[in-house]
């Protein structure tokens, strides 16, 4: 697509002066032209076939805007987006917005499953739009905002409650055990880093919280993401035992780990493959072992 043509000056000296090399390069370039023609022919054929089959993906997209008359009543809009190999749900939404309706609203930024902006409810499941191939989905593709969160507009939900829950578990490293010397790090074993590794991958997308039946019924439940954040620190050997006790107290509160009914829905939808349910169970086990009171 964006391959630029090199200039002869960029070639090596030997390629210009060595007749054999020149012939080899001519052959390659001939071969390249032949391949290019063949590809172009295929592309045209494919384009014609696609046009004939009207190979477009049918999207049904949730629409709602409290400010705009006609959109105050929630509805689904149909978009038919021309398909290209490798196209994701996010690509299709961007196409629909740029070509059909500039008011179609959704969050997105990195396009590579790390910013966590575009968690959506796609064909009945919480997924990242950028990470979901259209070709893996049945048509029509239903695209809705994350369930159990207040809809701000179209596919945008209010994330404040999610952020509040994340911040309620003291989500920051706390240790009194500082090494001597300014340039000395705390030691952490490879095993311990391995233990917390998956928990540190959370991108705060909110998919797990949205999929959780318990969180849907109990607004105060910390939820899988916040508990996983607590796990990330509780299991980090650098924080020390006292702090671990403090962290267990936080997650043992009335709306903490004991609310989890091990339905595994959070684990199923997590786009970063964090074993959330396991982490919650492990914290329950730690809490029991530490002889803290529990409900």
């Amino acid at each position: 697509m964006s391959t630029q043509r090199p200039e002869p000056e960029a070639e090596t000296e030997s390629a210009e002066t060595d007749p054999e090399a020149e012939t080899a390069q001519d052959r390659r370039l001939d071969e390249k032209r032949r391949r290019a023609e063949e590809r172009e022919r295929k592309r045209v054929e494919e384009a014609e076939r696609a046009a004939a089959d009207a190979e477009r993906y049918h999207l049904k997209v949730f629409r709602y805007d409290p400010e705009v008359e006609g959109k105050q009543e929630p509805r689904f809009d149909d978009f038919h987006v021309p398909y290209e190999t490798g196209m994701t749900v996010l690509d299709a939404l961007i196409y629909a917005r740029d070509e059909f309706d500039a008011s179609l609203t959704f969050r997105h930024s990195c396009r590579q499953a790390i910013c966590g902006s575009d968690a959506l409810f796609i064909n009945g499941s919480q997924r990242l739009g950028c990470q979901t191939q259209l070709s893996d989905l049945d048509q029509p593709v239903r695209i809705e905002p994350l369930p159990h969160q207040e809809v701000v507009k179209d596919l945008v939900v209010d994330m404040e409650h999610f952020y509040d829950q994340m911040e309620s578990v003291e989500p920051y490293f706390q240790t009194t055990d500082r090494p001597d010397g300014d340039l000395e790090e705390q030691r952490q074993s490879r095993e311990n880093r391995e233990k917390i590794k998956t928990s540190t991958r959370c991108i705060w997308c909110g998919a797990c919280m949205s999929s959780c039946n318990i969180a849907a019924g109990d607004n105060e439940y910390l939820g899988p993401a916040a508990i996983n954040k607590a796990y990330r620190f509780a299991m980090d050997e650098r924080e020390g035992e006292d702090m671990k006790q403090r962290r267990l107290e936080i997650i043992e509160q009335e709306h903490g780990v004991w609310r989890c009914q091990t339905q595994f829905s959070c684990t199923e939808v997590c786009p970063k493959d964090i074993p959330l349910t396991e982490h919650i169970q492990e914290l329950k086990r730690e809490a029991v072992k530490s002889n803290l009171k529990f409900w």
């Binding site: 964006s2 391959t3 590579q112 910013c115």
Partner: protein, 611 residues
Amino acid sequence: MHEYDVIVVGAGGAGLRAAIAAQEAGADVAMVTKLHPVRSHTGAAEGGINAALREGDDWELHAYDTMKGSDYLGDAPAVEALTQESPEEVIQLEHWGMAFSRDDDGRVSQRPFGGLSFPRTTYAGAETGHHLLHTLYEQVVKRGIEVFDEWYVLNLAVSDEDEPTDRTCHGVVAYETATGNVEAFTARDGVILATGGLGQVYDHTTNAVANTGDGVAMAYRAGVPAEDMEMIQFHPTTLPSTGVLISEGVRGEGGILYNEEGERFMFEHGYANNDGELASRDVVSRAELTEVNEGRGIEDEYVHLDMRHLGEERIVDRLENILHLAEDFEGVDGLEEPMPVKPGQHYAMGGIETDEFGRTCVDGLYAVGECACASVHGANRLGGNALPELIVFGKRAGRHAAGEDLGDPRVTVGRGADAEPGTLEPPVELGEPWSADGDAVADGGATAETAEAVVERALERERERVNRLLERDEGTQHADIRAAVQRTMTENVNVFREEDALKEALVDIHAARQRYRDVYVADPSSTYNTDLIQTIETRNLLDIAEMITVGALAREEFRGAHWRKEHQERRDDEWLKHTMVSWSDGAPELWYKPVVLEGEAKTYEPKERSY
């Protein structure tokens, strides 16, 4: 009206570090970001953070590598600050809990990266930026620093003296995405721009959709010069279909590049006989495109990056994220097959001109991170040098803005006595001469005012601008203009550059500007109006694209990432100087300032760059 001592615009790595430093120095700080902090693009950085931590390495070696990597367009005082302070900053991150990869003895691991004479890149798997971003945000939460997330900064509130160096920045005006409210934020001591990259001027980029160069464009229109904007880094290993980044860590761990004929071309075709795949990024990017263009590319588009020989254990331990990216975005199992890669826009070495404390020539206005040019990367940034830049200069600017005395800078800012005028013969009129005041925040047209009056006037202007865009019923949509700019930049201002193509880009950008005069926002809503925000971002992209192209056309030599067909030599006699572009009466004005090669104890003599 929101009032603080220090306002930080943008909440990626640089912004978060600046906010923490300013608060620790006693300032009342607020962050204003168009995303939520954890959505910032710092999270996508993969490779690592360079810091001279171990025996056998020291900051001077790191500084030498950085100056060489920059092709001697870096300013030594800034480079030395970076390399001297990155060890303590990396250890600081560790003390804040960052989950670095570890050696057997429990210390932070380091690995080799391109252009480095010592394996000094610390990392956290292949998701270093994610861990850095979250660790810093955790510290901001811990300190209770106020964050206005999903507030889009529309413009700066800058006083209006004739000379930019006489102006003062008193705050910013921002748009609350959720409600459509336009409000002013007054900064008693300083505004720190940390708005990140500008990759959205290209259509094949590793950058997030949010990276639209807002900070550079706003500072530019307030009279702050943009420095070395032509120096765009193309990363040699991005996935062909999406531009998703495959970390340099893959090559650092021993990954090999092959062409269609199965040749290890970095060696076999003599691009870098010593360092091969670990030559610096500009060298590898050009090598790949040359292979493709000489008929040895795969599908005539890309080359292969093979890591299978590293073994599953090592790959999973250090590069696991790469397996997921290759699988999700290219359908390739990196354990079984080589990955397709090609160069893509990755990083802006240039940006808002600052000194080594992040200060611009406008009093009270700072810039840090990718939007700034201190300048530590010169004509080519070494892998692993972006993240230390964020934390070192974030900290410095935060402290300075909060009033700490950090001494006298050695890098000068603004057009001083050493400025040299530039000449350019563009094929079209540049800028927006048809509306000199346009949306500039400072155009030298009014007399000096009180801080309150400056902020109030900026607020009124931005409210007017938003209303004007929303009220218009028909015209051109931003998406069309943006696509046109991205297309011409990718075709004409890419890895290989030539005069005719650069001029063609200026013609296209001019046409896009003309069309932008008729831009309209289709969505009338005041709730989460992304159409409006993207329309304003597109205005910024126009200025950014023009600055890059003007710089590329003016610099008639081959230095670092800047390759020119007509000029195949680095010409130190004439070009050891920074390209500066200033917004002047609605048009870009070109000038130059010398590179500072004198370091603390020695001078960095330009040498031929070979790898």
